[in-house]
Amino acid sequence: MTAAQPLNLRAIRAIVRRDLSIVRTNRAVLVPLAVLPLVFAVVFPTLGGLIARVDVPDGDLQRLLRTVQGWVFDGLPDGSGVQLAALLLGYLLPPLTLVIPLIVVMVLATDSVAGERERGTLEGLLLAPVSDRDLLVAKLLGALLPAVAINLGCALIYLTITDIAMWPVLGRPLLPHATWLVLVLVVAPSVSAAALALAVFVSARARSVQGAQQIASVTVLPLVFLVVGQFSGLLFLGPWQLVGVAAVLWVVTGGLVWLGSRSLRRDRLGPRLR
C-alpha cells in the first residue's frame, strides 16, 4: 500500500533540512568536513605547482615516471618536475580526492541514523506520519546531497588552483581531461552512493555512531587499493575503465540500498529504541 503512494516531498525536505541543521551545530563533525577538502583541494595542487618548477632527483620518483604509460606525458614539455607534477595533479591525486565525498557521506549518514538513536530523537521521527520509504529517501538524500555538493566544489577549486599553478609551465591548462572528468562526475558519485548505502545499512543496526563509523570505514579500503595501484604503476585506469568501476559500484549500491531499506524500517528500528 505504501509503495503506491507518491513521495512525501515536504516531509523529506523537512528531515533533510533538520539533519543538515544538526550537522551545522556539531563542531566535531564540521571540523573534519572542512579540513579534508582544504588539504586535498588547496594544499595538494599548490604543492604540485611548486614541484613543476624543480627537477626531480634520480631515485624512486624517476623510476615512478618511467613505469607510467607514455600517453600520460603526450604533449608535455620536457622536464622531470613538470612531468611529475602533471602525473600527480592529473592522475595520481584525483583518485585520492574521492576520500572527500566518502568521508562526508560516512560522517553524515552515521550521524543521521545511529546518531539520531543516540540522541533519542529517532522515536520522534518514527512517530511521525512518514512512511519507511520516505524516511529512507530523506536519510539517503540528507547525506548524499552535501557529499555531491562538497565533491563538486572541491573539484572546481582543485581544477582552478591546478591550472593557475601549471599554466605558466605548460602554456595551457592541465585539467580537465577525460579521466579527471569521469572521476569527478561519474566515479565520485558512485563511490559516495556505495559508501552511503553501506553507512545507512550499518547505522540502522549499530548501537552507536562510533560503532557504525568503525564498520562503515571499510569502504575506504577499495580506494586505498586504487590509489596504491596508481602510485605503484600496477593499476593505471583510463576513462573507460573508470566508467566500468563506477558501473560496478552502482550495482553494489543498489544491493546495499535494498538491504538498507530492509533495516531502516519501523518494525526493525522499534525494538532498538531506548
Binding site: 500500500m1 503512494q5 516531509a11 533538520r18 541543521s21 544538526i22 522515536e123 520522534g124 511521525a128 506520519p129
Partner: protein
C-alpha cells in the same frame, strides 16, 4: 463518551527474544474515553504504546486504531495519533520554534497560519520567551512542556501519553492535568495515559487498566475498582480512650476480615477503626452496641479506598499468590 472503538486490541502478544513483554492483552478503548495504563516499570505499558503506534509489530494478535492496522496503515494511523514517549524525543540542538516547525512539516499541517499556530502553542505552554533558544539549555520541565506542545500541535484525535507529568514541578503538573481534562472534556479526545501517579489516574481517567508482566490484571473505573476491593468496608471513628472497647465490639459484629486501626495525627483525640467485611445489615446493631457501652462515636462511614490503596492491595495479593508454595509458575 461515545460508543465507537478508537483502539481495539485483541489477544496481543509481543516478545523480545525469550521475554514476553505483552502476553495476551485484549482491550477496547472507546472514542472520547480517558484510560489510564498502570503498572510497575517493565509491566508492558511502553511496549503497548509502541505497538499501538506501529513502532513494533505484534508477535501474535492484532491492534486496530479506528479500524486501521498500525503496521500496514502506519502513515494513516500516526496521523490520528499524538504520542508522547517517556524519553525526550526533541531535537536538543534546535530551538523550541524549530522543533514545532519540524513537527508541522512532518504532519503536513497547512502552511497558511502556521506561524500563528506555533506562536499560540508556545504561548500556551509558557515557552514564548524561549522560542528561539536551543532546547539543550531547557530545564526538564520546559522540555516536557515543549514535548507536549509538539504532540498537540497537529491536533491528534487520539493521545498516547507516556508519563506526561514526569519530571514536572507541582505547578506544571497541575497545568498538564488541567490540559488533559480539558482535552478530554471539551475536545472529546481519546486519551491513553501511562502513569505511576495514581492520584492523577484517579482524577483524570474514566477507566484504568492495570498491567503486570504484560497481562491485564485488573480493569475498570477507579471507583469500581475501589468498591470491588472494599465492598462493605466501614470506618468507625471513636474517642481515643474508647478504642479498645470499640475494637472488641466491632470484632463481634464484623465478619472474618481484620480490624485495622488507621492512625490519625498524634494530637487527634480520636482513632479510626476500619473493617472490610462488615455487612450493611449489621451496622445499626453495631452503633447501638457502641452507644450502650458508652463509647463516644464521632462517625460511622463507608470506606472508599484511593486508587493507590487499590493498586497496592492488588500487587500485594498477587505477590502473595506468586510466593505461595503451590503456585504454578506462569499462572496469571
Amino acid at each position: 463518551m461515545t460508543g465507537g472503538g478508537a483502539i481495539e486490541i485483541e489477544a496481543l502478544h509481543r516478545s523480545f527474544g525469550d521475554v514476553r513483554a505483552i502476553n495476551g492483552v485484549s482491550l477496547r478503548i472507546r472514542a472520547g474515553e480517558v484510560v489510564g495504563l498502570l503498572g510497575h516499570n517493565g509491566a508492558g505499558k511502553t511496549t503497548l504504546v509502541r505497538l499501538v503506534a506501529g513502532l513494533l509489530s505484534p508477535t501474535a494478535g492484532r491492534v486496530r486504531v479506528r479500524g486501521l492496522d498500525p503496521v500496514a496503515d502506519g502513515v494513516a494511523v500516526r496521523r490520528l495519533l499524538g504520542v508522547l514517549p517517556t524519553a525526550s524525543f526533541l531535537d536538543q540542538r534546535l530551538s523550541a520554534r524549530r522543533n514545532l516547525e519540524l513537527a508541522a512539516e512532518l504532519f503536513g499541517l497547512p502552511r497558511a497560519g502556521l506561524p500563528d499556530r506555533i506562536r499560540r502553542a508556545l504561548r500556551e505552554f509558557d515557552l514564548a520567551e524561549r522560542a528561539e533558544d536551543r532546547v539543550e539549555g531547557f530545564s526538564a520541565g520546559m522540555r516536557q512542556r515543549l514535548a507536549l506542545a509538539r504532540v498537540l500541535l497537529p491536533g491528534p484525535e487520539i493521545l498516547l501519553l507516556d508519563e506526561p507529568s514526569a519530571q514536572l514541578d507541582p505547578l506544571a503538573v497541575r497545568m498538564v492535568r488541567q490540559l488533559i481534562g480539558q482535552l478530554s472534556r471539551d475536545a472529546g479526545r481519546t486519551i491513553v495515559l501511562c502513569t505511576h501517579d495514581l492520584a492523577e489516574a484517579q482524577h483524570l481517567c474514566d477507566r484504568v487498566v492495570v498491567l503486570d508482566h504484560g497481562r491485564v490484571v485488573e480493569e475498570g473505573a477507579p471507583a469500581e475498582l475501589a468498591a470491588r476491593l472494599a465492598a462493605g468496608a466501614v470506618e468507625v471513628e471513636v474517642a481515643r480512650a474508647d478504642g479498645p472497647v470499640a475494637r472488641e465490639l466491632l470484632g463481634r459484629h464484623a465478619g472474618a476480615g481484620p480490624i485495622r486501626q488507621v492512625d490519625g495525627p498524634g494530637w487527634a483525640d480520636t482513632v479510626v477503626l476500619r473493617n472490610s467485611s462488615i455487612g450493611r445489615s449489621q451496622l445499626p446493631g453495631l452503633v447501638r452496641a457502641l452507644a450502650d457501652a458508652g463509647v463516644a462515636v464521632y462517625g460511622v462511614r463507608p470506606y472508599e479506598p484511593s486508587l493507590e490503596e487499590v493498586y497496592v492491595a492488588l500487587y500485594t495479593a498477587r505477590e502473595q499468590v506468586a510466593t505461595a508454595p503451590n503456585h504454578a509458575v506462569g499462572q496469571p
